[in-house]
Amino acid sequence: MDRLLQMNIEELGDLLRKREVSSLELTHFYLDRIKKYDNTLHTYIKVTEEEALKMAKSADERLSKGEEGKLLGIPIGLKDILCTVGIETTCASKILKGFIPPYDATVVNLLKKEGFVLLGKLNMDEFAMGSSTENSAFMVTKNPWDIERIPGGSSGGSASATAAALCVASLGTDTGGSIRQPAGFCGTVGMKPTYGRVSRYGLIAFASSLDQIGPITRTVYDCAAMMNVISGYDPFDSTSIPVKAPDYTEVLGRDIKGMRIGIPKEYFIEGIEPDVRESVMKGVTLLERQGASVIEISLPHSEYAVATYYIVCTAEASSNLARYDGVKYGLRIDGKDIIDMYKKTRSMGFGKEVKRRIILGTYVLSSGYYDAYYRKAGQVRTLIRGDFEKAFNICDVIVTPVSPTTAFKVGEKIDDPLTMYLSDIFTIPVNLAGLPAMSVPCGFDRNGLPIGLQIIGKALDEETMIKTAYVLESELKLKKIPEEFL
């Protein structure tokens, strides 16, 4: 059975179609792994065993009829921020405890259409606010490469579960790096698609103008396969881009001769751990050897990105989270009147970081401060977008580290939000610009912790990124699953 762990979605699909293994067997295999390892890793908020077995059975029936489905019978985990009909969806928050959505997110619908098997809902930072998954109201997820360490965040559950093979693949969401940073920390492949490429309908909003759903997988092939299922226009999301998505697996194996790789000079200065810098630069050299050329570029406004981001995302969050008032669903703590009920419910229901951001966001939107903060942030955002546009006139992709460090220790930064925020310094500008970006493993540091290389692409050009990532993956042949979890 252990050979299953090394297979990608295509290979598993072949096996399933040939009936060499059934979806039920594959699902049991993963459920057993969850039982065995998740006491250590704490990746799943909820394991949907019953649902999984039902879906697996139905997949087997479809398989026996020779029906097609891009994910037919493949066990997958979902970040607990994606609405699943009839299955509690909490955003790792007490305030949504008990909330059972009456509808599926568009991506969940798409996965169902392709016959996936839902293993469960994965842990995350509460409302996707955080970089370590320590902000979950329920539990702290551990990094399978070193269980003293955090898996990154906010999609830490998705990244850790995928790295430890507690699912074949998973979906996360990325607002400022929440797919790429944990993917990088856990040695997995993470993709934040172009804003508007994947429907946000049914994704519980943190910051609407930045949020995007994307896959976390063990291989670049799986990333492309997952993208094939979730991408495309959705009339239920007004910000979804009305263009047809390509077959992302088609570019796998194509060469990168003549590709111009931009290296932003502002991204390789102080604060980066030497191992991270070295490993990323080695990755670049390797790409160069495969025929790409390297150009130094400048993204001068990036230094304002983190400040801008924490104005935009907190402002939107303060409004997006206003609906959790105890009136309609989730937690309600009764009070002497409606205002008292609001106060008690929200005081008890939200964690520290969420409250911090609601207060920040309320502040930057309040009358008298709007122009100085929110409007100004919008202007800076335009400048940041302009930086990228200019850069992409002379290069095809941009390469940076995913994060300045590798995974840090549990508790190390939790009391220092500003340091924690800097963990996303290289990923945040991408969300502000609405561009696609990927995290691909490029090596390990001296402690054996994975290092992620970020590839940023032009808007809607996920293909070039995937092609590049595949070259890197094929050349490096890095270990994907930590020994302890094999």
Partner: protein
């Protein structure tokens, strides 16, 4: 208004529910009066993860009104979130428009106190309505309240006037004119009781001739023209008296108490709200092409103002008639259709204003639901004109024609109601009457001329009302003299 040194300064904010089939941001029905929470979905319930999608029809309607109110239609407008907490507001914010509304800088021409006046329209913006709270008892004594989200996200247009209105009378004229326009455009049912046409007023006073604006108060939820006029009158008088007594007007929201006819402060409820408006990130800017605007312009109906002018000019109708006919778009169509078959506008107008309106009201139906079509009304009037039946007969059979919807021509023939215009027949009826009342004939001949009416009545009775009145009169006079 007691003190004539002052004038009122009034700006009006009208909320008009749009008659779209579905809500502003989802496919749920907008129908009024359904089971609570039956017209809801994740989007209009504000469920986590749900997103808004703009209803194109609502944009059509907004453009329509913008054009009708002489506004500039902005080629780019944006939606904004207005953030506040209330249980009927499921998302904790209302999607509205703030910095860049869809229409700006228009005007409405009104007539009040015999004077024509132009009231500027500052802006029209699109927004969604909130749900409705249902309390156990009154809001103060209830231990719980329920929320019905059927109304949540029903499309509204907010029409904001400049403070060009100086009297309550003008305010009412403005509102009536605006309501008529909305009805003509068929984009709002104008129902004030059900809240599909709601009004808030900003009121201040100033010394006449002064250019400066005084501190204003906001009057909320005025749900009839009568209440609007009364509350504005009260509020203006209150402010003048306050200032005259050396006091100062406080900027606040006031509610109108219908029973006492006064306004009172909503103290405490309205602490300086900060709505923290910001552009709605879930919706793209609304881009409106010239083609879109022209498409709407080409289907714009004639508006009440233009129609009034035309009715006076083309049909030579008195202003009073015109106002009644134009006040109801259907009625004005009914009128014009009737005139096509009976081209005597004033006669048609008289019959519509008296007989038709009375019968419509009795049956509680609209002009075009009347079985008596404009063509049939024209036919009836022609029968009167050519002497086939008398006016009296026409009026008598009107209700029956309203019920049956048959051709009046056929009807009178079948009922044998055709007027008797045969001299000999009328003369013989007269003879019979005269022989029956010799005493009265004697008295008449001795000078009691008012008995003529009595004889007319008797002959009519004799002929079952069918005698041609003109001939009857002539023959009777002749016969009584001999």
């Amino acid at each position: 208004m007691g003190n004539t040194d002052y004038e009122g300064v009034i700006g009006l904010e009208v909320h008009a529910h749009l008659l779209t089939e579905s809500k502003l941001f989802c496919k749920c029905s907008t129908r009024f009066g359904a089971e609570p929470n039956s017209h809801t979905c994740p989007t209009c319930m504000g469920l986590p993860g749900a997103l808004p999608v703009l209803n194109r029809k609502a944009v059509d309607f907004a453009i329509k009104l913008g054009l009708a109110l002489n506004c500039r239609i902005n080629r780019r407008s944006i939606f904004a979130r207005k953030n506040y907490y209330y249980p009927d507001l499921p998302k904790g914010y209302q999607i509205s428009q703030y910095e860049e509304p869809i229409c700006e800088d228009g005007f409405i021409d009104i007539e009040a106190g015999g004077q024509e006046k132009r009231i500027r329209v500052k802006r029209i913006h699109m927004e969604e309505d909130a749900g409705k709270l249902v309390h156990e008892h009154t809001i103060e004594t209830s231990t719980y309240s329920l929320v019905d989200y059927n109304r949540s996200s029903i499309p509204l247009l907010e029409i904001v006037s400049e403070p060009d209105i100086t009297t309550p009378e003008e305010a009412v004229a403005y509102l009536k004119t605006l309501r008529d326009i909305l009805l003509y455009l068929e984009i709002c049912d104008g129902n004030m009781e059900e809240g599909s046409f709601r009004c808030d007023a900003n009121v201040s006073v100033r010394k006449k001739g002064s250019k400066e604006l005084g501190t204003r108060t906001e009057l909320k939820n005025l749900n009839s023209f009568k209440h609007i006029e009364k509350s504005l009158n009260y509020e203006i008088r209150r402010q003048i008296e306050l200032i005259e007594a050396g006091g100062r007007v406080i900027q606040e929201t006031r509610l109108f108490n219908v029973d006492e006819g006064i306004t009172y402060s909503m103290r405490g409820k309205e602490e300086a709200h900060d709505y923290r408006y910001f552009p709605e990130p879930d919706l793209l800017p609304l881009i409106i092409s010239n083609e879109w605007i022209e498409e709407i312009r080409s289907v714009l109906p004639e508006l009440p103002g233009e129609k009034t002018k035309r009715f006076i000019e083309v049909y030579g109708l008195p202003k009073y008639d015109t106002e009644i006919l134009v006040s109801d778009k259907d009625l004005s169509y009914y009128f014009e259709e009737t005139v096509k078959t009976f081209p005597e506008p004033k006669t048609v107008s008289n019959w519509i204003m008296t007989e038709l309106l009375r019968e419509l009201k009795e049956r509680n139906i609209k002009p075009f639901e009347a079985p008596l079509s404009p063509q049939y009304l024209g036919e009836l009037l022609t029968l009167v004109k050519d002497g086939t039946i008398s006016i009296k007969i026409a009026k008598d059979i009107f209700p029956e024609l309203m019920d049956k919807g048959v051709s009046p021509k056929t009807f009178v023939k079948e009922k044998g109601l055709i007027q008797i215009s045969d001299e000999a027949e009328i003369a013989s009826a007269i003879d019979r009457v005269i022989s029956l009342y010799p005493k009265e004939v004697e008295e008449y001949r001795f000078g009691k001329e008012k008995l003529l009416g009595f004889f007319v009545g008797q002959v009519m009775k004799e002929t079952k009302g069918k005698a041609n009145p003109k001939m009857l009169n002539e023959l009777l006079l002749k016969r009584l003299k001999t």
